[in-house]
Symmetry: C2
Subunit: 200 residues, 2 copies
Amino acid sequence: MAEPIDFYFEFASPYGYLASTRIDALAERHGRTVRWHPIMLGAAFKETGARPLTQVPLKGPYLVHDVPRFARYLGVPLTLPPVIPMNSLAASRACVWLEEQYPVQAKTLAKALLYAHWGEGRDLGAPEAVADVAAGLGIDRAALLAAVADPRIKDLLKERTQAAIERGVFGSPFIFVDGEPFWGADRLPQIEAWLSKGGW
Amino acid sequence: MAEPIDFYFEFASPYGYLASTRIDALAERHGRTVRWHPIMLGAAFKETGARPLTQVPLKGPYLVHDVPRFARYLGVPLTLPPVIPMNSLAASRACVWLEEQYPVQAKTLAKALLYAHWGEGRDLGAPEAVADVAAGLGIDRAALLAAVADPRIKDLLKERTQAAIERGVFGSPFIFVDGEPFWGADRLPQIEAWLSKGGW
């Protein structure tokens, strides 16, 4: 079995959402699976000095124009949420918690949260908003809310984020294929080419 | 005749070089021409707070790995130059000067300078190094060296750069198609799609 693809993303990143709608099918076309890794991009930004694009002159207006255009290009639903970037701690912790016991369901939850935030424009900063989405998938609200406040889960997300940064991750999406790092949703065609050719 | 494509680039940007090797042929496939605009990206970085990628933790090592890989993907010669980013004032001013009288030759010079710097890895920070490349194209060395030191040409490049920033340019390459801004060499497939479909 070929090596799984590692897909790092930040819930508050629109480009992470856009790539998330394609990465599994892309991998499947080439007999690969994908491991999803939600991370807190702010920790990487401390290393690189980056700020959320929406807060940067010139880049902010570009993003607001480019993200809906990119979504139309892919044929993906997109509603800009009220706050960009939202606080993604609860969403990320919920996925880290669920993955411990139910990895497949954790990916389903991640997709539902990304869709609620970027497809429907809902803010998921509050743990209750994350629990609402999870409840729709049959995930226990109370258990999720407890997990999101659990110091062990908080630390686990921190460790995962730190491990990603140590691997070189500084943006969202950030994708490793056969150890090769690719940054950005606009690199999906190169990733497809890499998988088709077995590298170049 | 359809609107020309505007191609903004910084000589010291490897992604500008990579896109430069494709943009004219891409445009020609769709009956378009391309206007080339060398700019001093540092002026835009003052607006956005960006730094040259090579000086940024995590992003620097990514660039050094990604640029040669991207060049192999395109089948384009690539030799990382000794200094990244080089001082691109002389190269940019030479092109701005030449374009006043010989627009076609200015593009030829820009291509030769990009190839010397990124294809062969030559540093073109010194005006003499720029003049060496230009002389190979039959351009008068003395006239070029005088132009590069001419306050009028200096101001012209500043004005062009400022006009680019006012149009929203903050990176290299930065490409406008029918008024639509596209940032990055990895957006060439989207530009191709835009031209094929007449937008989306």
